[in-house]
Amino acid sequence: MTPEAWSGGLWPYFALILFGFLPSEVWRMLSIIVGHGIDEKSELLEWVRAVATALLAGVVANILLTPSGALATVPLVARVGAMVIGLGVFALTRRSVIAGVAAGEAAIVSAAWWFAG
């Protein structure tokens, strides 16, 4: 039987669990084994935290560099520009994330509107 034959019914749910949920969840469950015995104040934990931070920054940079969908229609210069504006406002408002996000969003929506026209 092909997956098509099961379409409808419960197949989409099973497919999600098998091909979406489990391949992703395996990393979370693995952390229980890997993280077992790491002390809260250890240098190792500090390293793991730095790795996670760098990785996350990489995810963000990749979204800016090669975005998908509507964001891809905004030129790279404008995407980076909106980021700089957002972070600039964030810095000027003594690290207010809300102000930074609002400013960055205003900039990107204006840019998207401008370049679409």
């Binding site: 989409p12 969840e25 990393w27 809300i98 990107i108 204006s110």
Partner: protein, 249 residues
Amino acid sequence: MSVQESETPGTQGRAYWLRRGIMVAARLPIFVMAFTFLGIGGLAREAGVPLGVALLSTVTIWAGPAQVIYFGALINGVALPAIALSISLSSIRLLPMCVSLLPVLRQSAGSRLTLLYAMHQVAVTVWAESIQAIRQIPPHGRMPWFMGLAHSLVIAALLATWIGYTLAATLPHAFAAGLLFITPIYFTSTLARNAREPIDWIALSSGFVLAPMLKGIVGAGLDLMIIGLVGGTAAWLWQKRVRRHGAHL
């Protein structure tokens, strides 16, 4: 944040910390989640899956990028095993996030099952909001605080998935671009807000420096692992050097 509770820190019960966790979520993260998951709901509708699958993906996968990959790949007719592989690659980032939260939460977890459940709640937003803040909370209050934060975000994401799926209206172009931009700007400011020491700043900037350098050289997924390991290790080594010599950045 609140001044109503005048008790000294460390004496409040679990309900107090649960409430504090919910309050952290209510400040900005739930709105970020809502906007992100509006898009995911719409994408699921486009992929032709039932609403139940869209909602189930939010509580099970519980990682925006992986959900975008899943529904996006369904739309493009990618074979399911290939989808599973790219999802697994994109979710590697969850491992260091979970590992860094685990020791902080362990003491207040009670049972191993609670800890497993807590690890399931770890996603980028939950991590970014808790990794710095949770260390200021007395150990017994950490798990309720974390659960309050995480569950508020799950509920907001579920509602947004449902609304996004139901409306599935063709969003105005500029608004759609704004939805996609919320992830980069929110995470970068949150990571910057979390940054206290040189190690945080170096780790954060190394991601931005290394990502363009590795673009096109190594494949997706692998490049992120390299960024994490190289950038994180460099930041950590620098921090050690600073501590030893008392140098300033």
